[in-house]
Amino acid sequence: MNGNRVAVIGAGMTKFVRRAQETAKELAWEAAHLALASCEMTLDDVDAVVIGTAPDAFDGVHMKSEYLSDGCGAWGKPVMRGYVGGGTGVFAAIQGWYHVASGLFDTVLVVCEEKMSSCQPHPQGAFLTIFDHTTERPLKPNLLWIFALEMNAYMNRYGLDKRDIATVAVKNKRNAADHPAALLGDPDITVDDILNTEVMAWPVQRGDVSPISDGAVALVMSANHVARRATPKPVWVEGVGWNLDTAYWTNRDLSYPVYVEEAARMAYKMAGVTEPRKQIHIAEPYDPFDYKELHHLEGLMLFDKGEAPRAAADGVTQRDGDLPVCPSGGLLGVGNPIAAAGLMKVAEIFWQLRGEAGPRQVPGNPKRGLAQAWGDLMQVGTVIVMGV
């Protein structure tokens, strides 16, 4: 690698809540401030800012990163917003990586913010506008419908049982009970609780879906020479990958996320990971729906195609299992303020690899983990591999 070696040296996040009283700028600053304080830095130490935030339609603010910029600490600084839909949270960390790896900046503040509650009566109204204006929007599609199509395709291809899939929601909501920022943590929830929730669009039930949330997350990323001075426990970015599939999602095989596989291959190659099932100790795949965690674990090549549900039901992905998955509680448990949720996964890997995850800490001193997000029209995969 020509460029700088890059580490995450600080992280912070707000609570994820259904309706924040703070403005979007205030949420962004709270997370940014916590991240800077966690590594004893101030804005004077920050050379550039990266902003991640999903559709402007949520807040109803055009050019949202301009509006957010001073809340993110970007006054008088280079600031740039990258955007890959739901994949934005993990992509923001990737963008932070290339800012520092380019050699142009020593320290970058990465801030992801989402305020979905300002979209009234419900953010699904904003999601209507993600569809093609000519071929799809006249059908008034809903996100839940297209994910029901995808979940159906996945279940039919491999003959999957909804009960196995629901174990993911149970695991993540139980894990989230240990997360101080979580919206839907519940230590006592059961598979039957999930299976008894109302049907949204079959086979998707309310318990299969992550909640709409407000929140913000921030990271501090630094070059080798700064990171080693700033903290005894830098968490290195070892590999990054991202990949985009066609916009014509109706022409694709929805049962397998090939774009996640391509993104993972890119990240593994950069990280020198040749046997992911042995070399990845902990994973935070994107879980806006419970089946998505399984779908993504297969795309990440951590399980064979169609095998992830069985492994989940067998407890392999529990916090004390062979491959702890979403020990944070994920989107299903902590909440899903889109871009912030993705960056929360990167922050969780950071805390877990430093042994700072408190009651959520997975046993066995994990040395390498990955975070992954997914977005656009079931179309983009973003992957970051980090290690100590």
Binding site: P78, Q95, Y98, I130, L244, M266
Partner: protein, 384 residues
């Protein structure tokens, strides 16, 4: 910068005030096909990463990133969108190459402004939703106020501001890509109807449709792809505060800071002596003057008289916006900065036809995100 980066190919579609015959996808395809042809590359095989530039509200869809891969030949490749100015997208591509992980990166930006029936109303959604948007004023009032402040702080006259519009619209007559060229005089500009006083209609850039695609490559690859690589010597970008209430009004602080970074990365100490010509944002005529001063190309308060005397004309000491700028080519929304870059590339290659500047070796392009923002980005390019 730790690795050489060059522009190895450029392509464009447009620029026209309306394009009822082409969708934005077709605009992008045409520009991309031209750029790939020029660089002699197959996007499916030779490109390591793609960066597109777009804002949801300009596109009329949420998550515009969804709709970019097919027409760029970018399926199953790393693709990202930058919600920023075109030159921010260029900077993102440069950073990716500097990491050493990518050798060829494609950068795209476009405008389909003619599809937006209520552009001022869409732009008004960029105001702070609590403090400013309830005023329900046409967004250009910010430009009118800023122009007044700039004139008051520097002593610049309205006629000097108008001379920018006259110069650029006349330059555009020599540019086959420009749709807003005209034999316009300073009096024509001053006598056109007011938009937000003192700003007049001919001081505001009209809008154009079009697309621009750049093929960026590391030094070694660029030399293999083209005989005329245009080197990226430096990049910089910066924001002032978004608050209307506390930003600098007379001075373009974002342009000063962006230029400072670009000069630092390019190793430029004396910009006025080391830069041969500039393509800089002129969305509003006074902006070219304000930006010239902030970019350190002339002392504060002197850009107006200098321009009125012809110092920045095509044959002047420092030609500014030989393409006609946004005044002459039309404003291309998020692609406006890449239109500036395109002209710098053509000038440095000696392919600018009737508007060719003699012995041009180093050029500066600067883009601004427009009202009500304070975001700007700069790039220094050279042919040696």
């Amino acid at each position: 910068m730790i690795r050489e980066v060059a522009i190895a190919g450029v392509g464009w579609s447009g620029f026209r005030s309306i394009t009822p015959d082409l969708s934005y996808k077709e605009l992008m395809y045409e520009a991309a096909a031209r750029a790939y042809e020029e660089a002699g590359i197959d996007p499916r095989r030779d490109v390591d990463s793609f960066v597109t530039v777009g804002e949801d509200y300009n596109e009329g869809v949420s998550i515009f990133d969804e709709y970019v891969p097919d027409q760029l030949g970018a399926l199953h490749r790393p693709v990202q969108t930058i919600a920023g100015e075109g030159i921010h997208g260029l900077a993102a591509g440069v950073m990716q190459i500097l990491t050493g992980q990518f050798d060829v990166v494609v950068v795209e930006a476009h405008s389909k402004a003619s599809n937006i029936l209520t552009l001022p109303y869409v732009l008004a959604f960029a105001f702070d939703p609590v403090f400013n948007r309830p005023l329900a004023a046409h967004p250009y009032y910010v430009a009118g106020m800023e122009m007044l402040r700039y004139m008051a702080e520097t002593g610049t006259t309205h006629a000097e501001c108008a001379s920018v519009a006259a110069k650029n619209r006349n330059n555009a007559l020599l540019n086959p890509l420009a749709g807003y060229g005209g034999a316009v005089t300073i009096d024509d500009v001053l006598n056109s109807e007011p938009v937000s006083e003192p700003l007049t209609r001919l001081e505001c850039a009209g809008h154009s449709d079009g697309a621009i695609v750049l093929v960026l490559a590391d030094g070694e690859t660029a030399r293999a792809l083209t005989d005329k690589p245009i080197w990226v010597n430096g990049v910089g970008w910066a924001n002032d505060t978004f608050w209307l209430e506390s930003r600098a009004w007379g001075v373009a602080r974002y342009a000063r800071d962006a230029a400072e970074m670009a000069y630092r990365t390019a190793g430029i100490r004396s910009p006025r002596n080391e830069i041969d010509f500039a393509e800089i944002d002129d969305t509003f005529a006074y902006k070219e003057l304000q930006h010239l001063e902030a970019l350190g190309l002339c002392p504060a308060g002197t850009a107006g008289p200098w321009t009125a005397e012809g110092g920045t004309a095509l044959t002047g000491e420092l030609p500014v916006n030989p393409s006609g700028g946004a005044q002459g080519e039309g404003h291309l929304l998020d692609a406006t900065g890449l239109a500036r870059v395109l002209e710098v590339v053509q000038q440095l290659r000696g392919e600018a036809g009737q508007r060719q500047i003699e012995n041009a070796e180093v050029g500066l392009a600067f883009g601004w995100r427009g009202v009500p923002t304070t975001g700007g980005a700069a790039v220094i390019l050279s042919n040696r």
